[in-house]
């Protein structure tokens, strides 16, 4: 017992970490009092950490330091503007909170043009796939050509599935959309299959934490 206590004192983080791990893991059997207790601690710690992060990463460097260390006093207006959020609980002046909310909406919406251009335009030009491909030494690369053809076929048929307003009367569009849906299922299956590996690695890591780091039963 004495030895256990000494061991605990020498590495309390590992002990508490292991207890937290076991408590949360009990959820897979069923929701229980221990899980519930640790779930609340988890949320509490996370909320506390968010507050710390707010002070450390936002209020301090973006408000306190600029205003009181660099003299950029105009940030005060931003703070006052932000206070309007708190009118949300007022029955009569509730609408004032819509000003900062609207501002944030506009901010988020306004960035879409750049994000769209950055994300999708390179993908668009990359989709211009030649169906006739030659290797650097001049021979015809049939496999690459076929792959490019399949690429274009999949791209167009999946996109045809996402047309909402054209009534899918024509058989060509209907079967293209159906084919598109099937190909999407292949893609989703493949994503599912590749993800298993990463998740199992996480579980293995947890077990190694319990049996290796904590109990020291494994090397």
């Amino acid at each position: 017992m004495e030895q256990l206590w000494q061991d605990f004192l020498s590495r309390p983080g590992v002990y508490l970490g292991a207890i937290c791990t076991l408590a949360l893991m009990s959820l897979i059997y069923r929701e229980n009092a221990v899980y519930r207790f640790f779930e609340h601690i988890f949320i509490g710690l996370a909320a506390g950490f968010s507050i710390v992060a707010l002070v450390k990463n936002i209020l301090d460097p973006f408000l306190y330091q600029p205003v009181f260390q660099k003299g950029e006093w105009y940030w005060t207006f931003v703070f006052m503007f932000g206070l309007l959020f708190y009118f949300i609980h007022s029955r009569k002046y509730n609408w004032l909170s819509r000003l900062p909310i609207g501002f944030l909406m506009g901010f988020s919406a306004g960035q879409t043009f750049q994000i769209f251009a950055n994300t999708y335009l390179p993908q668009l030009s990359d989709s211009f796939r030649p169906l006739y491909v030659t290797t650097p030494d001049g021979a015809v690369d049939i496999a690459k050509g076929i792959n490019n053809f399949i690429f274009m076929l999949v791209l167009v048929s999946v996109m045809s599935y996402f047309f909402f307003s054209f009534e899918q009367k024509s058989r060509a569009i209907r079967s293209s959309a159906q084919f598109g849906r099937w190909v999407m299922m292949v893609a989703f299956g493949a994503i599912f299959g590749t993800t298993i590996m990463a998740r199992m690695a996480l579980l293995f890591d947890r077990m190694y934490y319990i049996f290796g780091d904590w109990l020291r039963l494994v090397r």
Binding site: P12, G17, C20, L24, M25, R36, F38, H40, I43, G44, L45, G48, F49, S50, V52, I58, L59, F62, Q69, W73, W75, T76, V78, F79, G82, F85, W95, L99, P100, G102, L104, M105, G106, F107, G110, F113, Q114, A117, T119, Y120, L124, F151, V154, V156, V158, M159, F162, V183, M184, M185, V186, A187, A190, I191, T194, T195, I196, R199, L202, Y209
Partner: protein
């Protein structure tokens, strides 16, 4: 014309900055009082104007011609400030979220509702994290740093990892239940997942590792099939989905920016 304004908003020496801050607060309060008395019919246009103005900054910054040498236009230098402004505003709502936690759990404790001790644990953990987290950053107390380390590295990080690892269990039960040869779609989903799973582990790879590389049948090796699935089929399908999402996002952004959006929040009389 612009110069006095720029002068006025320029950083101020530290000994007078407090006066400017107080002035800004007083001015803001006056504006808020004015706003409180704004006629109802002007409220929506004002909100639309604020939304439009906020968006206009980024739109103009993006579309305004640039100086080829510096790759900048007259707004580019303000991007950093804008993103700080956005984080500051969004950060200020955290208090509202924390108030929600305090309200729900404080009430549980005060009324001794069943499970009140859980709520107490939550609030205690929160306070402890705030105290030791701030001390870790702003003081040199060695014990505080140690306690923070136990709370953060010992507990919080391990709890994150544990919840994350639970997905391993759920992925097993989900695939057992969902991957049945029930319909064409379910069968396709299952087959693709099965093939990729085989190609992920040595046991599966060993099944086709006898096929000679560089031979005609090379493309039947599991890892080659997997790579083909992921680079040709998957890439094309995901890209098609992404194009749709991109256009959809663009449309909603336009609707919100120009206050054309409809629906509960946007149609309510205020």
């Amino acid at each position: 014309m612009l110069e006095p304004i720029r002068q006025f908003f320029a950083p101020k020496p530290l000994d007078v900055v407090a006066y400017y801050v107080v002035g800004a607060v007083v001015f803001s309060i006056l504006v808020i009082i004015l706003l409180l008395n704004l006629p109802a019919r002007l409220r929506k246009p004002l909100i639309a104007l604020v939304t439009f103005g906020a968006g206009l900054f980024y739109v103009t910054e993006f579309f305004w011609p640039i100086d080829k040498n510096t790759n900048k236009n007259f707004l580019t230098d303000y991007l950093v400030s804008a993103s700080k402004l956005g984080s500051l505003l969004a950060g200020m709502t955290l208090t509202l979220g924390i108030l929600s936690l305090l309200r729900v759990h404080g009430r549980n404790i005060v009324r001794l509702r069943s499970g009140w001790y859980n709520s107490l644990a939550l609030l205690t953990a929160m306070v402890a994290m705030v105290v030791f987290g701030l001390m870790d950053k702003y003081s040199d107390n060695a014990t505080a740093k140690k306690v923070f380390n136990v709370l953060f590295e010992g507990m919080l990080i391990n709890m994150d990892a544990t919840m994350f690892s639970l997905i391993a269990f759920y992925i097993v039960s989900a695939s057992y239940r969902a991957f049945r040869i029930r319909s064409i779609e379910a069968t396709i989903l299952m087959t693709a997942a099965f093939l990729v799973m085989l190609a992920q582990v040595p046991v599966g790879l060993a099944l086709t590792s006898w096929i000679p590389r560089d031979g005609v049948w090379d493309s039947l090796r599991l890892e080659v099939v997997k790579e083909w699935l992921l680079t040709v089929l998957n890439a094309a399908a995901l890209r098609a989905i992404a194009f749709g999402l991109g256009i959809g996002g663009l449309a909603i952004s336009l609707r919100i920016w120009l206050s054309l959006e409809r629906g509960a929040y946007f149609e309510k009389e205020i």
